[in-house]
């Protein structure tokens, strides 16, 4: 149905796509697999008309297809669900859907259409609800329904599961399979190998902008796929067995009011972190992860006795006092939170290392010592950059993340809190970061890893808890948990398991009716 022939796109200094050939058949779920920076996004943006290729051609149902803007692509029958939603929180579902349409029908008719499509594909949605009140999974449904209303013959999904619980992923897969069986082709962009093996009929693997292989993913192991993606054999992080030490960080009935309108309030959070422990905190994005990091790091303060570090009350202490006492943090957002985009790596080193590395005296900064420590981070964490004088935003995501994590780990924390340590980081860098986190735990530190990547948490954490709407489940040993239990913890329904199952079954029944 869609044929891509030797499409090439270069940016100054980078070849994003080099002579890419892909053919997608009708009713096929076709995966495009690759690391970050492999050229997946560029390719789908070319198909969707957001970017024009330098050379090459595309054919849609045998006819030459030159999308010069997304409207042309939509009219041809190509629809796309983006990784980051483009929805207005203060508008209703129906209003959001109508904003994305060329000729929206009347409000009542649109609501009817939305209900019809959402029932048909097992995507329950109330057209009159405000998007601001929807979960990430429900928001994605809005995007999907918006696409389906255009009766697309090709649906592009960019990393659709990164915001979903395992149960929501199952529902999504049901929908996609049903669409495919009705003849819609689906282009599925992901780096999650198990998903692709389960869902997709075909896979094209990109590396550094080039097609390096194509295969039937169900016939390959996840490890084989990963090695094709990375182009070399993968070193899987390993950890020496240690037993948990004594408690080092205790959180007792922690509450935090939401700081902005669509923010999340933290409610009644209890946890105990031990020495040598990695506590994984899962959950779908926007359920209080940022807020939890901010109260633990000291950016938001709470009553003194809600957080204890080594038996000392620190709930009302500032970030630098906590650093001095041994608690360090690495926030999710690299540019603008963990690091200042337009400042050099030296200045960004000073940003958090001042207290523990004694980088200033009487208010005067020792740039010499700061540079020495910055160089050390760059060397030990293999940060690829021409030098410590380069500004943070000139680094790739993976390299900046290695810098941010390295900056904290090399300060030898007793407790480290990290949020999304490997988000948007290539596989090799992610493995290196996980390894360094595990090594730190082996050496006696207690670590909290907040992440939306379940595989990551299962791989590295001793105990697992989940955040849902600002509430946290009690941590449980990771090795005793089944995928179903984890999904229920993420859905915030640990006590009332049946209702979720009922809902799940109901949705599936709807899908089949």
């Amino acid at each position: 149905m869609l044929e891509i022939k030797s499409v090439t796109k270069t940016y100054p200094g980078v070849v994003a796509n080099k002579c890419v050939d892909i053919a997608i058949k009708k009713g096929e779920i076709h995966a495009i697999l690759g690391e970050n920076g492999a050229g997946k996004s560029t390719l789908v943006k070319i198909i969707y008309g957001l970017i024009q290729p330098d050379s090459g051609s595309m054919f849609f149902n045998g006819e030459l297809y030159i999308p010069d803007e997304p409207r042309f692509a939509r009219n041809t029958g190509v629809a796309m669900v983006f990784q980051h939603f483009s929805l207005f929180e203060a508008l209703t579902v129906a209003e959001n859907v109508s904003l994305g349409m060329e000729h929206p029908p009347s409000a009542t008719e649109l609501s009817k259409n939305i209900l019809k499509v959402s029932n048909e594909y097992g995507l329950p949605l109330d057209p009159n609800r405000l998007v601001g009140t929807l979960s990430a999974g429900e928001r994605q449904r809005v995007e999907i329904v918006r696409c389906l209303l255009q009766n697309p013959s090709l649906l592009i999904m960019d990393e659709p599961t990164s915001v979903l619980t395992p149960q929501e992923v199952e529902i999504l897969f049901e929908t996609l399979r049903k669409l495919a069986s009705q003849g819609t082709s689906i282009l599925y962009i992901s780096h999650k190998l198990e998903e692709i093996r389960e869902l997709c009929n075909e896979a094209t693997i990109l590396r550094q902008g080039e097609v390096v292989a194509s295969c039937k993913p169900s016939q390959k192991s996840a490890r084989e796929l990963a090695e094709m993606m990375v182009g070399s054999s993968l070193k899987i992080p390993a950890r020496a067995k240690t037993s948990l030490g004594e408690p080092i960080l205790e959180v007792f009935d922690l509450n935090l009011k939401a700081t902005h309108q669509f923010g999340v309030s933290l409610r009644n959070i209890f946890l105990t972190l031990h020495k040598n422990e990695i506590l994984g905190i899962g959950g779908v994005a926007g359920n209080g992860q940022d807020e939890l990091l901010s109260v633990l790091s000291g950016e938001n303060i709470t009553p003194a006795n809600t957080i204890k570090l080594n038996n000392l009350d620190i709930g009302n202490k500032s970030p630098n006092k906590r650093r001095a006492m041994g608690l360090l943090a690495a926030p999710e957002e690299r540019l603008g939170h963990a690091a200042a985009p337009d400042m050099s790596l030296i200045e960004n080193t000073f940003l958090t290392a001042r207290v523990r590395k004694n980088l200033s005296k009487n208010g005067f900064i020792s740039w010499r010592n700061t540079e020495i420590f910055a160089e050390k981070i760059i060397e030990e964490f293999d940060v690829r950059t021409p030098g410590a004088n380069n500004v943070a935003r000139s680094l790739s995501g993976g390299n900046l993340q290695k810098f941010v994590i390295g900056r904290e780990i090399l300060q030898m924390p007793d407790v480290l809190i990290v949020n999304q340590p490997t988000w948007g980081v290539d596989a090799a860098a992610a493995a290196a970061i996980r390894q360094s986190i595990m090594d730190l735990a082996t050496n006696g530190a207690g670590i909290i890893v907040i992440s939306q990547d379940l595989d990551e948490l299962l791989e590295i954490s001793d105990n697992f808890a989940a955040l849902n709407s600002g509430k946290m489940s009690l941590p449980k040993p990771t090795k005793d948990l089944s995928m179903d239990e984890i999904g229920l913890m993420m859905a915030g329904n640990t006590n009332d398991a049946h209702s979720v199952f009922d809902h799940h079954n109901m949705v599936n029944n709807n899908a089949h009716s």
Binding site: P319, G336, H337, P341, M343, S360
Partner: protein
């Protein structure tokens, strides 16, 4: 099609070049302005930028004026630059300048006619304190009630002007002044007068202090925690909070410091070149200093140069008013254009312009 592309790193070249280009563009646009006003543009520009310094007749009078005008501009702009770096917008330096002058002069007038070495330092202290206090009003309102410091500090300029006018015809009026508004002339009161240090240069204590502060700010910006914190807060408020900076404390410090320097500029002015507290004592240094701060790239050395340049537009403008009968507003338009071109050209430090032709088929 013209498009702006973000640079991966801010261009050093453009950052340095922008002020020069802005001055050139201002001269060109200003030239057209003079043509519209029916004046010869080349003559007008020569009178404004050349004659004050090099003309045989006027040079001797105007050259010292350069430092006299540049001193307060530099002093105020230095203080403003710190807050501007952090995204803390003190627009009310004019008001802090007035209150500084009033407080300092009040101390002097209270001691009149006692002669003592301690009077002048006390006046300076009172001037700095007065400016600081006036700036604390927007600072506290901002930190306690989250009011907008731009509006509050600006509005307080007009309050300060009213206070100045009231005092000039009331409490501080010269008892021997035959009922005219205005205080005693401090230049005639030895202990309180801010004399030229070297005759014929225009350099008084305020000028010396301004240059001293420029050196101090250079060190502050590059080597001191406060400089780092202001820069970080301006660029990335979330990263600043993460690094442990207390945003409210920074607001109080930045506004306080800029208010204090504006107050100092005020007291040096009233005890020196101006001499007395009177209606219309302020001539807009506090507002012009905003332009100086930006024209100088918020960099201490740049501010010194920009202060001298703006001082030149003041005295050149005065000369042009006399010789060409240009309206005073033309000079303000001139200064405004300079800021406009500067900010407009600033885009090119972070973005580059690129042309795109046609589409790929």
């Amino acid at each position: 099609m013209l498009t702006l592309e973000k640079r991966s790193e801010p261009s050093q070249l453009w950052t340095a070049l922008t002020p020069v280009l802005a001055v050139l563009l201002t001269m060109i646009a200003g030239g057209f302005l003079f043509i519209i006003l029916g004046k010869d543009p080349f003559l007008a520009l020569r009178i404004m930028f050349w004659d004050p310094l090099f003309d045989e007749m006027f040079g001797a009078y105007f050259r010292p004026q350069l430092l006299v005008k540049a001193g307060p501009l530099i002093l105020i702009a230095l203080g403003l630059s710190l807050g501007f770096k952090a995204g803390i917008w003190n627009i009310g330096a004019e008001g802090q300048y007035i209150i500084g002058a009033v407080c300092g002069a009040a101390v002097a007038l209270a001691f009149y006619p006692t002669e003592s070495l301690f009077i002048f330092p006390l006046m300076i202290l009172a001037g700095g304190l007065g400016g600081w206090m006036w700036a604390m009003i927007p600072a506290l309102l901002r930190t306690k009630f989250n009011t907008n410091e731009i509006l509050v500090s600006l509005m307080l300029v007009y309050v300060a002007e009213q206070i100045l006018n009231t005092l000039a015809i009331g409490l501080l009026r010269n008892p021997d002044g035959n009922g005219f508004p205005g205080s005693r002339n401090l230049q005639d009161y030895y202990s309180a007068s801010n004399m030229e240090i070297w005759a014929g240069t225009g350099a008084h204590w305020g000028v010396v202090l301004a240059l001293g502060f420029a050196v101090g700010f250079y060190i502050l910006m590059n080597q001191h925690l406060l400089g780092f914190q202001t820069k970080l807060t301006g660029q990335s408020p979330r990263a600043a909070k993460f690094s442990g900076i207390n945003p409210n404390l920074l607001i109080v410090v930045c506004l306080g410091l800029s208010g204090m320097l504006a107050g100092l500029a005020g007291i040096f002015e009233v005890s020196g070149p101006s001499g007395q507290i009177t209606i219309g004592f302020n001539v807009g240094y506090g507002f012009t200093a905003i332009i100086v701060a930006f024209l100088g790239r918020l960099h201490p050395i740049g501010i010194v140069l920009a202060g001298l340049l703006m001082a030149l537009t003041y005295i050149g403008g005065e000369l042009a008013q006399m010789q060409l009968a240009l309206p005073a507003a033309a000079i303000q338009a001139f200064q405004g254009m300079l800021l406009f071109f500067l900010l407009a050209l600033d885009v090119f430090s972070n973005y580059k312009l690129s042309f795109k032709f046609g589409k790929v088929s």
